[in-house]
């Protein structure tokens, strides 16, 4: 007997099909069913159909966070695949792409297979991103072919920049052979020996600053390589105005570059570090108000293709310490959608754009299913209830990591 789910009376926002209307959505056997088919109430056995009343809610293709850290294997005390995907589901995500900086690094079939086997019990789809270089050491490429064959969707040494430009060039060329996306953690290491954004706040706090040039120099290197080679690159967690401008102009020239930014970069500034708040310590760091405004502009004008969280859970052990000693990162899966909805409320982007940034584009960039409510598509669907209170209560959070900013 087929299992069916009817989501009734919701506002269907499906930019891939240019749909924005109030109607029912029928799911049969895990696939989106034909909306013009016989209404379920007239079928022979309506009791088999589970119904959800979505009146007043948005019904959108399942949200995809293309940049998270699930910490498994190796640092399960911070997060693991089950807890991380529970957080994802709680935040409205049906799929996540997990970065390879686990212990050991995901640079081999063995680690990829382990992640995917854990993911079978998970609350969201898990797309592994493998390392560009072996052990993310920046010396030799990983086996892109075997990794791809075992379920990897992209490669990145995320957490670390690829220092060697020749290695990055080879990665872009070789990844193209295997249909893999190269994701760049753009950071010039000799300029980023600091703990927060360089500016008046770092001066006031006496903390060592990281200039925006540390990011933008490397963003431009990736653009130059992609442009020269005609290859594709994706820039992760863009934090500043200069990088946004580089990406905007590269796109205008037809360079095959895509980019993501994170909710903290369009919501917070380096003022959040005042008081030595370690939960506001991240890499790249929170920038100035001018940068925050430029990130919002970049979301509005299409410079950015995706909102991704860089969900980076840590335990108290890494955060309840002196600011210089604290590790980088905050969690984001539960707060990404509420913070992104604020952009819609504030008129920065419209509803369709939100769905493009959080579902349609991540699916397209990663080359994975989802991102659409077309008939026959996989039934990854997010129902957004706009009346739920904000911020999300701590007690309802479903992740292990206890450090948060929002």
């Amino acid at each position: 007997m087929p299992t069916s789910l009817l989501i009734k009376n919701g506002r269907i926002i499906d930019p891939a099909n240019k749909v924005d209307c109030i109607r029912d959505l029928l799911i049969v056997d895990g696939r989106i069913a034909d909306p013009t088919a016989v209404p379920p109430s007239e079928s022979s056995d309506s009791s088999e159909i589970q119904e959800i009343d979505a009146a007043g809610c948005w019904v959108v293709p399942g949200l995809i966070d293309m940049h998270v850290h699930l910490r498994e294997p190796g640092e399960e005390y911070k997060e693991d695949i089950l807890s991380g995907t529970r957080a994802a589901a709680a935040g409205g995500f049906t799929a996540v792409a997990c970065m390879p900086n686990t212990k050991p690094v995901n640079d081999s079939r063995a680690v990829t297979v382990l992640i995917l086997s854990q993911a079978e019990k998970a609350d969201a789809r898990v797309y592994p991103v493998a390392a560009i270089s072996q052990n993310s050491q920046g010396n030799a490429l990983t086996e892109f072919g075997e990794l791809k064959a075992n379920g990897v969707v992209a490669v990145s040494d995320d957490g670390l920049p690829v220092r060697d430009s020749q290695l990055m060039r080879r990665a872009m060329e070789y990844a193209d052979d295997h249909g893999l996306l190269v994701i760049s953690h753009s950071e010039e290491p000799s300029l980023s020996n600091g703990v927060m954004n360089e500016g008046i706040i770092s001066t006031r706090l006496g903390l060592k600053g990281i200039p925006t040039a540390a990011e933008s120099i490397m963003v431009y290197r990736e653009i130059a390589l992609a442009e020269c080679l005609g290859k594709r690159v994706h820039i992760a967690h863009v934090s500043c105005a200069m990088s946004a401008e580089l990406i905007r102009s590269a796109k205008a020239r037809g360079v095959r570059v895509t980019a993501e930014t994170a909710p903290h970069y369009f919501t917070l500034t380096d003022e959040a570090v005042m008081g030595y708040t370690t939960n506001a310590k991240m890499n790249p760091p929170l920038r100035s108000e001018k940068d925050r405004q430029a990130i919002r502009q970049g979301l509005a004008d299409g410079t950015f293709d995706a909102i991704a969280t860089d969900h980076a859970p840590h335990s108290m052990l890494e955060k309840e310490v002196e600011f210089d000693r604290a590790m980088n990162g905050i969690i984001g899966l539960e707060t990404s959608l509420p913070l992104s909805l604020a952009l819609v409320r504030e008129g920065v982007i419209n509803e369709q754009k939100l769905v493009e940034l959080m579902s349609v584009n991540p699916a397209r960039i990663l080359g994975v299913e989802g991102g659409t409510l077309s008939t026959g598509a996989v039934a990854d669907v997010t129902v957004i209830n706009l009346t739920l209170p904000l911020p999300i209560l701590k007690s309802r959070w479903s992740r292990k990591a206890r450090t948060r900013h929002f």
């Binding site: 500016g199 030595y276 309840e320 002196e322």
Partner: protein
């Protein structure tokens, strides 16, 4: 003192959060304590029964000695813990160290730490009052206060003065405290130093960043020189100390550009012949040893005030 003024700070973590009234009150209190150190019997019973811990994670001679003398002249019991003897070398976190010390009920913890913000963190985990004795490249509030006390002693005011600060502003917690303090009291700050050692955002704070020594020092009421830290090797900040001395050193000629009654100051220890020439350091305008003397009085005032006296 302002009518109805009440000193409300539990901790002394930085100058940034002190009002002009707070600074005035601390300095007035310090001035009243200064004569105790000139008595034959240099001891008053004010803090008898109080336990004060000097928790120093960085080497220090004069600041620690100054705090210890201040505490003992007020009859407090003092204990020194330095990085080499503390259990942090065994992997204990600062918070655990703080909680353990707190469990022994000290009244004041005086912390020096190489990380900016460490005193702020400590203050959240202990019952004792915390006094910042220098944190990373952030602030050194008691030094800022003793500098202001020294200037007020000689100039009879802290407003409408031109204060020139010369040297490594970026790494100097003394400069940060001085800048914030003198600005708050209504004076003007002119800084000059190598571009590699000038932090961003000074203009937004209201500081004039000068492009040459003369612009900074001309008609100054105070010329403050800063210690250049020879030990910083990780970053190509300076080509050589030789060149630093030639371009950024305060010589007698530089000092002559300031007002004739200008004060020459230095937080110590001095690299003689590098940032400050010996004839200037030892000249008639130098108040460098007054700074040290006033340091004891300022620290007595801080110990007195954070233990709830007003």
């Amino acid at each position: 003192m302002t009518t109805g003024y009440f000193f409300s700070h539990r901790h002394i973590l930085d100058i940034e959060h002190l009002s002009a009234d707070d600074i005035d009150h601390i300095l007035t209190t310090a001035e009243s304590f200064k004569e105790i150190s000139a008595r034959p019997i240099k001891k008053v019973p004010t803090l008898r029964g109080n336990t004060i811990i000097n928790l120093f994670f960085e080497p220090s001679t004069r600041t620690r000695l100054s705090f210890e003398i201040a505490a003992k002249r007020m009859s407090a019991d003092t204990f020194n813990i330095s990085a080499s003897t503390s259990s942090t070398t065994k992997g204990e976190t600062l918070i655990d160290t703080a909680r353990n010390i707190s469990a022994m009920n000290p009244d004041i913890i005086i912390l020096r730490h190489s990380f900016s913000g460490a005193p702020h963190m400590l203050s959240q985990y202990v019952n004792a009052a915390v006094i910042n004795a220098g944190d990373g490249t952030h602030e050194h509030p008691s030094q800022g206060l003793l500098d202001m006390m020294t200037v007020r002693e000689h100039k009879k005011r802290l407003n409408n003065l031109k204060i020139a600060i010369i040297g490594d502003i970026l790494h100097s917690r003394v400069a940060h405290s001085d800048i914030l303090g003198f600005l708050r009291m209504g004076s003007e700050i002119f800084v000059y130093g190598p571009g590699t050692l000038i932090p961003p955002g000074l203009k937004e704070l209201g500081v004039t960043v000068c492009s040459n020594m003369k612009e900074a020092v001309q008609d100054a009421d105070v010329v403050m020189t800063l210690r250049i830290q020879k030990e910083r090797q990780d970053d190509p900040l300076l080509p050589s100390l030789r060149e630093y001395a030639a371009v950024y050193g305060v010589t007698a000629q530089v000092a002559s550009w300031a007002r004739p009654d200008a004060l020459i100051m230095h937080p110590g220890p001095i690299n003689r012949g590098i940032e400050l020439m010996p004839d200037v350091a030892d000249g008639s305008q130098s108040v460098i040893l007054d700074q040290v003397t006033n340091g004891v009085a300022v620290r007595m005032a801080l110990l007195y005030l954070v233990t709830g006296n007003n």
